[in-house]
């Protein structure tokens, strides 16, 4: 197959359904006698109308999601802890973890449970995708090709879906087609430059702008990629506490069902909970709700409410892809 068609095919593989399973309700919709009967014209029309009237639907959808988007609140009647306390405890916990030694040619292995839920406001039930078991090997110095594997967590016999994450070497990374290399930037933290001082970390989080949204987004990313680096973890948690608008959510649950307390932030586009263990304050993962999408032409449009929950269950420094301990 020609290189351009191979890239189009590869894109298609990336966009394929994750499990290969058909929607549970599809067969009934198609094959049950009442459904096979001709549908009223008005039903069909209303669906077309729904997709055509993007502007109006957008307004309605925004209205529907402007209230608090509660992901995992349970509440136990106790007063929520103060933000400053959660930040302090989580930062102290991170600092107390022995630092892992990671050599440049090693990999950071992260195992997590990921759950996607799409709520589009229609009468149909939310569409769940997952829980997926995700295993990721990320090059410590960013130059080696990494790997992401995922499969349904409750289907141990299911085939893994693999995706190579091309390493960034000399400013370029390879693609599926050898002739095509593309410019790249080293992955976050792969050059060992993440700050361990709180002031420096806050400046780092605001390096691309002063907005609190961006600083929090950057912090969430740093928190994820630095789980092997306790000093960085301690600094970023402390820095999060200095971002205006951070709130505490007690009684949250992560994607693996573990109880936690969250440092939360809501921007115009998304609401994010960084979840910490309710007892030890160890970082557990993230719950995120996408509220709006920003398109490449900078226009914004409402998304279906997309809930993304990722629970980190294991992190290790390993010598090679495939190793988990």
């Amino acid at each position: 197959m020609e290189p351009d068609l191979r890239l189009v095919r590869e894109l298609g593989e990336q966009l394929a359904p994750p499990t290969g399973a058909l929607p549970a309700d599809l067969r009934r919709r198609v094959l049950s006698a009442p459904v096979r009967a001709p549908r009223p014209r008005s039903w069909v029309s209303s669906r077309i109308w729904q997709t055509a009237l993007v502007g109006a639907a957008a307004a309605a959808a925004i209205a529907a999601i402007t209230g608090p988007v509660v992901i995992t609140h349970s509440g136990d009647g106790r007063p929520p802890p103060a933000t400053v306390d959660v930040v302090r405890l989580a930062s102290e916990r991170a600092a107390a973890v022995p630092a892992a030694i990671a050599w440049p040619d090693q990999f950071i292995y992260t195992e997590s449970v990921v759950l996607y839920r799409t709520i589009d406001g229609r009468s149909t039930p939310p569409a769940d995708d997952g829980p997926l078991l995700v295993r990721e090997w990320r090059s410590v110095n960013g130059t080696h090709d990494g790997l992401v594997r995922e499969r349904p967590r409750d289907q141990p016999a299911a085939a893994w879906r693999d995706a190579t994450v091309a390493g960034c070497r000399d400013g370029y990374q390879s693609t599926a087609v050898p002739e095509w290399r593309v410019p790249c930037m080293p992955d976050l933290g792969s050059d060992g430059s993440l700050p361990v001082d709180v002031d420096a970390m806050l400046a780092y989080l605001r390096r691309s702008g002063t907005s609190d949204d961006q600083a929090f987004d950057n912090a969430a990313r740093v928190l994820y990629v630095s789980q092997h680096a306790s000093a960085v973890q301690a600094a970023v948690v402390a820095a999060i506490g200095r971002i205006p608008g951070i709130t505490v959510r007690p009684g949250v649950v992560d994607a693996a069902g573990r109880p936690g307390v969250a440092l939360a932030y809501r921007s115009r586009d998304a609401e994010t909970e960084l979840v910490f263990d309710a007892s030890t304050y160890a970082y557990l993962g993230v719950n995120r709700t996408i509220l709006r999408r920003t398109t490449p032409n900078q226009a914004t449009e409402p998304a279906s409410r997309i809930l993304i929950r990722q629970a980190v269950e294991h992190v290790a420094i390993v010598d090679s892809i495939g190793s988990v301990r």
Binding site: L15, P23, V114, E136, A220
Partner: protein, 185 residues
Amino acid sequence: MGVDAESMRAARTDPDRFADLYDRYAAQLYHYAYQRVGAQTAEDVVADTFLAAFAQRDSYDPKRLDARPWLFGILTRKLARHFRAEKTHYRALLRTPAESAVDGHADRVAARVAASAVRAPLVAALGKLSAGDRDVLLLIAWCDFSYDEVARALDIPLGTVRSRLNRARRKVRAVLGDIDPTGEA
């Protein structure tokens, strides 16, 4: 008479036999629709496709031994009615600031991408193709259709399949060439 033609013939008098066709092709149709418009719309489009196929069972040409091109033709016409959803899908596939906060897994598509720098212009190029050119390109690249099967699915001459494919590939290559730092493509 082929297996598919027999199923369609039998479904005229025994609607339950239509399940044979569903079982043979539902996964393929859903896979393709999911790729093009995402999960929610894909389910609707595939359901509508089979309902339309069932409604046309009396007029199914028994000489059409393989129903796959015919079903994908119906699916393509259904997808055309969801062109806005497809455009939105393509836009959503481009990495956005809202999705960059969490690790790549949060944006599942990005997590699968071997070279995201290629994906963005590729997705953008697909979104800018005419519907007819895109249908031909994706049936061939994503569904392994032959030119003849594409012609039958879309009810267009073989020459039109070739010209549409050439045009689509030319536009895709132009986009990829723009980002190719090696100049070797």
